[in-house]
Amino acid sequence: VTGSRALSGIALVLALGAGLACRRPDPVRVAGGDPGAGRDAIAGYHCGACHVIPGVRGARGVVGPPLTGFAQRAYIGGQVPNTPENLVQWVMDPGAIEPGTAMPALGIPETQARDVAAYLYELR
């Protein structure tokens, strides 16, 4: 009986540890970025013409990659690490990071690009 109690204790500790380890990572913060405004900007620039973007109405595009779970992606454009500053640059001018990419620069100003990046990091 004592042995089985000890075993359950170990199991409990293991389960708690696993729970902690599997907890979702903290949201990535983009300095100066507002996710709500970002979602509006994404809708306004019609990013959804090419991308599937969860939470944005009508964003069912198949021309570019889906942005589901974007916060978990390791790379942006297959080129640079997925960091907030890289993402802001990518949103503003993808060709500067990946020359020859089909993704256009939409003329998004930096403040709005920060909002867009903030929203994309909500997609976990």
């Binding site: 019609h46 013409a49 090419c50 595009g61 021309v63 990419t101 089909a102 256009p104 003329g107």
Partner: protein, 344 residues
């Protein structure tokens, strides 16, 4: 439920809660004004009849006493007047009045606009100034004012001068469509092999949405158009700008786009006046950037959507005759879109 339904129908008919007003009950043109003058009394009158009938039913239901079994056999005496008056005389009166009122409204529209074009601004030879050709699923719009060198073709947007009656020839390139701009006039079908006509006169400036009103296939619901009524001076300026061929490409990128357009698959279907692209299977793109929508009013005309549309139009509008064009490199695609956006 029915009352709620009625209120809902009335609310949606008057365009409440819609971003853009398409209601026949808020007319902005002579034809629609005649129709609304008939429509309002019909809507109000028929609503009143419905309310009265449901009221009487409710009254009868509440007045009934005892169980159904107690009432058998049914008392047959004394109800004949209700049937004679309510079931025959009243409907005959109402439908008679509506019938003759509708005939009077119809009489205000010329049966054959070509027969009397006094006061109508016409193309040379007394022809209708504008020809609209329905395609699956977009509208070709041909302006025929002036001599033949002044003629031009555009798509999905019809500009009109305010206060001037203008005749439109209506034709179809494939199946039956129907031309309907609710705030300007009623519906007229576009029938293959036949020429129909409609006379539009906008009584105020504005942008009036229209759509195909005859089921014509997969994208019937996305076969829309905009009628833009503007003061005569602005209309003339628009005409003058549309008559011009496209401006020569001004930058290296747009020049690259122009070459891609004229030598690639685009020129197999589209015209850009002033370039070798002269095909007419798809919309004339000479002044594409001056239009506010793509794909017959179904998509916004902006950078992102234009990229996606060029690469994979069927993904955005399943069934469209425009094929997916996946052969462009990223750089070519940007050049092509930059060129299209320079076609003002």
């Amino acid at each position: 439920m029915t009352l709620l339904g009625l209120l809902f129908a009335a609310a949606s008919a008057s365009g409440m809660g819609l971003g853009d007003d398409r209601s026949v009950l808020s007319p902005a043109g002579t034809g629609a004004e005649h129709i609304a003058r008939l429509g309002w009394p019909v809507l109000v009158g028929f609503s009143a009849v419905s309310i009265a009938v449901w009221g009487l039913l409710a009254w009868a239901a509440l007045r009934r006493t005892g169980s159904l079994a107690e009432h058998a056999p049914v008392d047959v005496g004394g109800g004949e007047r209700w049937i004679q008056l309510g079931g025959f005389a009243l409907p005959a009166l109402v439908f008679g009045v509506v019938f003759f009122a509708a005939l009077r409204t119809l009489a205000r529209f010329p049966m054959d606009p070509a027969a009397d074009r006094s006061g109508v601004v016409c193309a040379p030879g007394g022809k209708a100034q504008i020809e609209v050709v329905g395609h699956r699923w977009w509208w070709e719009v041909r302006y025929r004012l002036g001599d033949s060198t002044d003629h031009f073709t555009t798509a999905n947007e019809i500009h009109l001068p305010v206060g001037v009656p203008i005749d439109l020839d209506l034709r179809s390139a494939d199946v039956i469509h129907s031309f309907w701009v609710p705030r300007l006039h009623g519906k007229v079908d576009l029938v293959p092999g036949h020429r129909n006509q409609i006379r539009l006169e906008a009584s105020r400036a504005g942008v009036f949405p229209g759509s195909c009103a005859e089921f014509c296939g997969l994208q019937h619901a996305h076969m829309r158009m905009l009628v833009i009524a503007e003061p005569p001076a602005r209309f003339e300026a628009w005409l003058a700008a549309q008559r011009l061929p496209s401006r020569p490409a001004a930058s290296d990128e747009t020049r690259r786009g122009e070459t891609l357009f004229a030598t690639g698959p685009c020129a197999a279907c589209h015209t850009v006046r002033g370039t070798p692209a002269r095909a007419s299977l798809g919309p004339d793109l000479t002044h594409l950037a001056s239009r506010s929508t793509l794909a017959a009013g179904s998509l916004p005309n902006d950078i992102a959507t234009l990229h996606a549309w060029v690469v994979d139009a069927p993904a955005l509008k399943p069934g469209t005759q425009m094929p997916p064009l996946g052969m462009f490199s990223g750089g070519d695609l940007h050049a092509l879109v930059a060129y299209l956006r320079s076609l003002e």
